[in-house]
Amino acid sequence: MRFAQAITLVFALILLMQFFLEVPAIETAGGHLTSWNIVIAAFAMGLAAFNLIRIHLKRVQLKRGNWISSAILLIVLVVQTFVGLYFGDNSAQYKVFFDGIISPLGATMYAMLAFWIASAAFRAFKARTLDATILLCVGIIVMLGNAPIGEIIWSQFPALRSWLMTVPAMAAVRALYIGAAIGGIAVGVRVLLGIERGHLGGGE
């Protein structure tokens, strides 16, 4: 554990110094660490695939509920991997999967957000208190300002939306950014000092 913490500290300091300083040796070391990161991420992908295969293979073997979906997942995993590796991800074969499956499925999921937003807004956007009423009014102005129909209803909606986005909303966003960035620094210090060991599997 101590050795792992020491590695964390040294590597993190190299990457930090690389951001702030222009020292060739540190830049070279940082470059190598960056490459290692990419390689480790690729290996982690293999580990994740193993986890996925293990869980779904077990479900198929035991014929547990919805095992057919697990079987389909495994078949698609094998076929897509084969097509990607054998034909390459710029091939016509890969494009068939991309245009025929991945793209429409992704677009469908994202498009469904519109329906969920509508039902969540209908349920949650109630003028129960003064705060909620302000939120409701601002939400409606921004929506109308973003759509061309808002300009037809009242020509000043885009200008009002723009003011809301660039003054009150931006002030709040900046406060959140600054707070979150400093919070991120505190998490970083805890990790570097070994006070926080989540990345090493937890424990105090």
Binding site: F20, M45, I55, I102, I178, A180, G183, I195, G201
Partner: protein, 256 residues
């Protein structure tokens, strides 16, 4: 040639000051001067959620977000350790879903160690931590399926989220689950507020694990974080006043 990267001198000084303030407060805590930090309602609710799930005999879903190993993910993993220990203590079931391969082995080890810490490592199931997909919406669809099929009683989502936030929280809402969510991605906060019972916004997420653990050193780092904010506020105030007076020394200093 300067050894400082262009435009980074002031950033480096500010970074050193902020880290120094955090270290100072950590050291104070080490010497016994532990700060009092307000309680975070969402964290208090974790035990209630686990208790309810145990009574109902239904599992708890946990996700440390869909980001890679960024600060928000670390914060989510920090709370995962505490949630998993509570789950182990109550004898409930936890399902942790993962989008990023790099997060998988860490989450797996955290859950296993939590069961070990409670002395019931034999109750740990390797199927508790599940990699779903790196593809954003495939992950969302997979998790929504798990939430519905397993009829989850509680849904805890702490980390970095994108558009999947509303998909997951709406599904949790439909399942009638207690929902605790937190993210530092401002654009997803409104969706969580509309659908969840408890929401941790921005820096609350980073403070969550430290507050929940009660570890004096971690609490010290939160107090240091507040001193950092005072430094940022001072810069904002001095900057606004001087620029309006036509003095640009701070602007010049910042661009060095």
């Amino acid at each position: 040639m300067s050894i400082f990267a262009p435009k980074q001198f002031f950033a480096l000084i500010s970074f050193i000051i902020m880290v120094g303030l955090v270290l100072y407060k950590v050291q104070q805590a080490r010497n016994g001067k532990v700060p009092t930090i307000r309680k975070i309602a969402g964290l208090e609710a974790i035990e209630e959620a686990v208790g309810r799930a145990t009574e109902m005999g239904r599992p708890i879903h946990y996700t440390p977000g869909t980001g890679n190993l960024v600060a928000a993910t670390f914060a989510g993993l920090e709370v995962l350790g505490l949630a998993a220990r509570t789950v182990a203590r109550y004898g409930a079931q936890i399902i942790v879903t993962i989008r990023r391969p790099l997060v998988l082995p860490i989450a797996d080890e955290i859950v296993r160690n939590s069961y070990m810490a409670e002395g019931i490592v034999e109750s740990y199931s390797p199927d508790s931590v599940r990699y779903i997909s790196s593809e954003q919406f495939a992950y969302a669809a997979g998790v929504m399926g798990i939430m519905s099929r397993e009829k989850i009683a509680a849904n805890i989502m702490l980390g970095y989220f994108l558009a999947e936030s509303l998909m997951l929280s709406e599904t949790g809402f439909k399942m009638g689950a207690i929902q605790i969510a937190g993210t530092d991605n401002r654009s997803q906060v409104p969706f969580f507020v509309a659908t969840c019972d408890y929401v941790l916004i921005g820096e609350e997420l980073f403070a969550a694990g430290a507050v929940a653990s009660g570890n004096p050193l971690k609490l010290g780092s939160i107090a240091g974080q507040d001193l950092g904010k005072i430094y940022a506020i001072l810069l904002l105030v001095i900057g606004s006043v001087t620029v309006n007076l036509g003095l640009n020394f701070l602007v010049d200093l910042m661009s060095k």
